[in-house]
C-alpha cells in the first residue's frame, strides 16, 4: 500500500500510456471493421470467409505478434506503433463478425419501410442500419476493450512502457505490491473503458431510453 502511495505519478503515467495503447486500436479497429462487416453483410458469400478469417487473427499469440511485427511494419522495434497495429488487428478480429451480425439484425420490415420512404442505400446505412446496430457493436467493443487492456500488458517484451511493467517488476523482485497495483490498474482501466462504451452507446441510441425496448 505504501508502495502505491509513493509511486502514484509513475502508476498514473503507465496507466495513461496503457489507456491510449488499448484505446486507439479500438477506434482504428472499429473504423476498419465497419466497412468489412458491411461487405460481409452485403455480399453473403463473403460472410463465412470474412468472419472466420478475421476471427482467426485473434488466435495469433500476442507475444509472437509483438516480436515479429516490427520485421514487417518497418517501425522501430521499440515503437509503440507496433503494439497499436497488433491490437488494431485483434480488435478487427473481434469486430468484423459483430458488425456484420449487428447490421444483419435490422429487421426486414424496417429496411423495407426505409426503402419505401425513398432512402438510398447509403442513407439507409447511416440513418437506419448503423444506428440500430449500435447496441450489438457496442457489446463487441466492450469485449475488445477488455481484451486489449489485457494484451497491452504483454508489450513489456518490446520495451513499451505500460502497466505490464509493474508485473515484471513485482515478479522479478518477489514483490506483491507493484504486481497487485498493476493488475488492479488494468481491471480499473478495463472497467472505465466498459463504462465509456456503455455511455456512448446510450447516447447514440436515445430511442432505447424513450421506448424502453431494444431494436
Amino acid at each position: 500500500m505504501t508502495w502505491f502511495l509513493d509511486h502514484i505519478p509513475e502508476v498514473l503515467r503507465l496507466a495513461w500510456t496503457h489507456a491510449y495503447l488499448a484505446g486507439i486500436p479500438l477506434v482504428v479497429g472499429l473504423a476498419l471493421a465497419l466497412p468489412l462487416g458491411w461487405l460481409a453483410r452485403r455480399y453473403s458469400w463473403l460472410y463465412a470467409p470474412f468472419t472466420a478469417g478475421f476471427g482467426l487473427l485473434y488466435t495469433i499469440p500476442s507475444l509472437a505478434l509483438f516480436v515479429m511485427l516490427p520485421l514487417f511494419t518497418g517501425y522501430g522495434i521499440l515503437s509503440p506503433v507496433n503494439v497499436v497495429i497488433a491490437l488494431s488487428l485483434y480488435t478487427l478480429a473481434l469486430l468484423v463478425r459483430t458488425v456484420a451480425d449487428g447490421l444483419g439484425a435490422v429487421p426486414d420490415h424496417v429496411q423495407n419501410a426505409a426503402t419505401a420512404m425513398g432512402y438510398t442505400r447509403g442513407k439507409r446505412f447511416f440513418a437506419i442500419e448503423l444506428p440500430l446496430a449500435v447496441p450489438v457493436i457496442a457489446a463487441g467493443l466492450r469485449v475488445a476493450a477488455v481484451s486489449n487492456v489485457s494484451i497491452v500488458s504483454v508489450g513489456t517484451i518490446i520495451g513499451v512502457q505500460q502497466l505490464g511493467l509493474l508485473f515484471s517488476d513485482g515478479f522479478n523482485r518477489d514483490f506483491y505490491d507493484p504486481l497487485v497495483v498493476g493488475i488492479i490498474g488494468c481491471v480499473v482501466l478495463a472497467l472505465l473503458f466498459d463504462g465509456i462504451i456503455i455511455l456512448l452507446a446510450r447516447l447514440l441510441t436515445p430511442w432505447q431510453r424513450a421506448t424502453g425496448g431494444r431494436a
Binding site: P61, A64, R97, D101, A201
Partner: protein, 263 residues
C-alpha cells in the same frame, strides 16, 4: 516464410515429447483440464442464475471484472503465491491452469445464464402448466433450449483458452508456447512463427469440430432442421448462433447487462 515451412517440415521437429505432436497434445491437455474445471464451476452457476434470476447482478459483475484481469499479471501473481505451496511438477502447471480457468469462466457462465434466461417464457409456463417441477423445467425445457448459447459460450471459452495456453510456457511448462518462447530466446523466428501458426491452426480445428458437435447435439426444434421455433420476439433466434464463432455469445449477454429494464 520459407524458414517457417522448413521448420514445420523438419522431421526432427516432429519427434520426441518436445516435438510438435507432443507439445500439441500437452497444449490440448492443459486446455482440456482448464475447460473441464471451468465448466464445473461456471455452468451450474450460470444455469442457477438463469433459472432463479437471483444473484445475477453480483455474479455478472464479478464475471465482468474477472474478464478484465490481465492474464500475464495473474500468472505472475499465481506463480509467486502458489509456487512455494506446491510440490513437484504441479507447481509449474497449477498457476497456468488457474489463469486459464479464470479466463474461461466468464464466457461459459454468460452462455449458460443468457441461454436459460432467453428461453421463451411461454415454453417455461407451458412446462410448469404440465406439472413439471423446477428441476424438470430446467432439465427438460431450459437446458435444451439454452444449448445453442451454452455451446457458443463453450466455443468462445475454448478459443480463448487455446490461444492463451501459450502462457504456460512462460511458467516453465510445455505446450505450443514453448516454440514461441524458445524461438524468441535464440532468435529463431521461423520456430516462433511456426509455433504461432500451430496455435492458430489448432484453435481453428478445435473450433470446427465443436461447430459440428453443436450442429448435432442441439435439438432439431431449435436448429431449423425440424419445425421452426416460435418467434414471438425480435431477439435473434437461437439458430442464428449456429454458424457463429464463439465470441458471439457475449452479444446477447452483455446487451442484457446494459438493459436498465431487467431487474
Amino acid at each position: 516464410m520459407n524458414g517457417v515451412i522448413t521448420w514445420l517440415t523438419d522431421p526432427l521437429n516432429w519427434s520426441g515429447s518436445d516435438g510438435i505432436p507432443g507439445q500439441t497434445l500437452t497444449h490440448l491437455w492443459y486446455s482440456a483440464i482448464s475447460l473441464f474445471v471451468a465448466c464445473l464451476i461456471a455452468i451450474p452457476l450460470g444455469l442457477a442464475i438463469g433459472h432463479t434470476g437471483r444473484g445475477r447482478f453480483f455474479v455478472v459483475n464479478l464475471a465482468g471484472a474477472a474478464r478484465a484481469i490481465p492474464s500475464l499479471g495473474l500468472l505472475y501473481l499465481m506463480v509467486l503465491w502458489l509456487f512455494p505451496k506446491l510440490k513437484g511438477d504441479s507447481a509449474f502447471l497449477v498457476p497456468s491452469l488457474i489463469v486459464l480457468i479464470v479466463l474461461a469462466i466468464p464466457p461459459l457462465m454468460a452462455g449458460a445464464y443468457a441461454g436459460v434466461e432467453g428461453v421463451d417464457p411461454a415454453a417455461r409456463d407451458a412446462a410448469k402448466g404440465m406439472g413439471m417441477t423446477g428441476m424438470q423445467v430446467l432439465g427438460k425445457v431450459e437446458v435444451p433450449n439454452a444449448l445453442p448459447l451454452i455451446l457458443s459460450g463453450f466455443r468462445s471459452a475454448t478459443l480463448q483458452v487455446i490461444a492463451t495456453a501459450t502462457l504456460a510456457a512462460v511458467a516453465g511448462t510445455g505446450g505450443l508456447g514453448r516454440f514461441l518462447i524458445d524461438g524468441q530466446k535464440i532468435r529463431d523466428y521461423p520456430q516462433m512463427a511456426g509455433g504461432a501458426l500451430l496455435v492458430a491452426v489448432l484453435a481453428l480445428v478445435v473450433d470446427l469440430l465443436l461447430a459440428v458437435v453443436q450442429r448435432y447435439v442441439v435439438s432439431p426444434g431449435l436448429t431449423g432442421r425440424g419445425a421452426g421455433p416460435a418467434r414471438g420476439s425480435r431477439r435473434r433466434s437461437p439458430n442464428r448462433n449456429l454458424g457463429n464463432t464463439p465470441l458471439d455469445v457475449d452479444i446477447p449477454s452483455t446487451t442484457r447487462t446494459v438493459d436498465p429494464q431487467t431487474p
